[in-house]
Assembly symmetry: C2
Homo-oligomer: 253 residues x 2
DNA sequence: GTCGTCAAAATACTATACGAAATAGTATTT
DNA sequence: AAATACTATTTCGTATAGTATTTTGACGAC
């Protein structure tokens, strides 16, 4: 008779419930399962996720620090609204300050590990082309997020990496995208700007534009062409800004 | 007989216990009441602050997001260590990316409100000169924090402002300073580097250097000299880096 | 009908106690 | 001495109760 009962295939837990809750709530915000600007009821959320209030509170506190949730004393939590046009422009201006520099640094610091990581990420983007259209959108935004994050990491500067991660820029872009999508489907099919967004987005999502620009950045970094990497990143961010700007504009009219 | 009983001078509460707890714990980290790298026991902290665990948990979750507290699954929270030399350099490099730009923008956007705020902040620095030496240190670091924060706000870019605030750079500098101070007092009075730090710091703290550099930035902004503001900010951050760099080095040997 | 008042319900916030699970430290056995 | 077993501590999560505040909605005055 075994002295100690065998744990039922549960390896050592690497994350705790409050971390999982954080990820789940973040995902719910990303996918508009909790709409932008909506109230977040702690009891209801705890019930829905099947956990007690404690992990929920910790998750919401962290999300507040992330700027994804706003807290009003004694009135509770609510998700932040979609980016305003100004916030959108501010965000891209900020990226223009740090990311071209990061690309430049990466080209100077690049090594075999970095090259392998970049190649792998570019490869994942190309395989994403095989997915269905609806899956492509999500896949490409995730690739874009990983790609830009990777370059800040290769740059070697922790502060820059953290600052970039905290912008959650791809999460915000995805929320904008989803809002535009539902708006397109629901009630305003002839909104010129939203249609335009989708044209522009799928142009990106289908990989032609984003992949091309990422390829230019990636190869410049891998060949150690620091100035080339810098200007390629500048152009890419500017191009991304131009693509998404109309969406931000019309959704916050 | 008055129809409604007068509330006993208790206006609507603007912050809740968990917010106050957050500030208190942050202050405890700042002042080394909780030493760098030390474990943070939730029960003990709750007992000490006279609150229950719930607000403590929320506060620690937020501080973790801030990068001031680290969390290890099932092992609890502990304060982050002092900045390593690399982190220190990364931080200042990051500031060099965003703050000169912010100063340049501020010079372009400056208006009467901004000028008044800058003048007031410069005035507060000068009145801090009248304080005792020990109070000056705290006062000057606080002035420095407010001054740099103010400029990012005047720049008008929310992302830049937030990114700067989140670095908590002055909090980290103050922790470095305190660590050097205790080291100087305690056991290694003839440490050349630490003495050097204090020489450099008081040179700054006495206001001669910092005030001069801040004055140059401030007046360039107020006169709309954008390029001048940019280079003045660059020089100031570089100068600050040079002053503190030896301290970071020796304290992390 | 509009506005304000007031009570009831809902919700946020805090406190407290308890238990499960993991870690860390100590003692025991091999 | 190394491996194992045991104990103590701590973290983590749950449950529950109670207070404070906001929200709601009905009622009545204008």
């Amino acid at each position: 008779m075994p002295r100690k009962v065998q744990p039922v295939a549960t390896g050592p837990r690497r994350s705790v419930l409050s971390d999982e809750t954080y990820d789940m709530v973040k995902a719910m915000i990303l996918t508009h399962e909790i709409a932008p600007g909506a109230k977040v009821n702690i009891d209801a959320l705890a019930l829905k996720l099947g956990v007690s209030q404690t992990p929920i509170r910790e998750a919401l506190a962290r999300l507040e620090s992330d700027g994804l949730i706003a807290k009003e004393a004694l009135k509770g939590y609510s998700t932040t609204n979609l980016l305003t046009v100004k916030q959108f422009n501010d965000l891209f201006q900020f990226r223009l300050l740090i990311e071209p520099w990061a690309a430049e640094q990466s080209a100077q610091n690049i090594n075999a590990v970095g090259i392998a990581a970049l190649k792998a990420e570019m490869q994942s983007a190309k395989t994403a082309l095989k997915l269905s259209e609806s899956e492509q959108v999500q896949a490409f935004i995730e690739h874009d997020a990983r790609f830009h994050s990777l370059i800040t990491r290769i740059s070697g500067n922790e502060s820059v990496t953290e600052a970039f991660e905290r912008t959650h820029c791809h999460l915000h872009l995805f929320r904008l995208f989803l809002a535009a999508q539902s708006r397109l489907i629901d009630d305003k099919p002839k909104d010129k700007f939203v249609e335009d967004l989708f044209y522009r987005y799928y142009q990106t999502g289908s990989g032609q534009l984003t992949i091309k620009e990422h390829e230019a950045i990636s190869s410049a970094i891998c060949t150690g062409d620091d100035k080339g990497a810098k200007t390629a990143m500048q152009k890419h961010i500017q191009s991304s800004l131009d693509r998404f700007s109309p969406a931000a504009k019309v959704l916050n009219k």
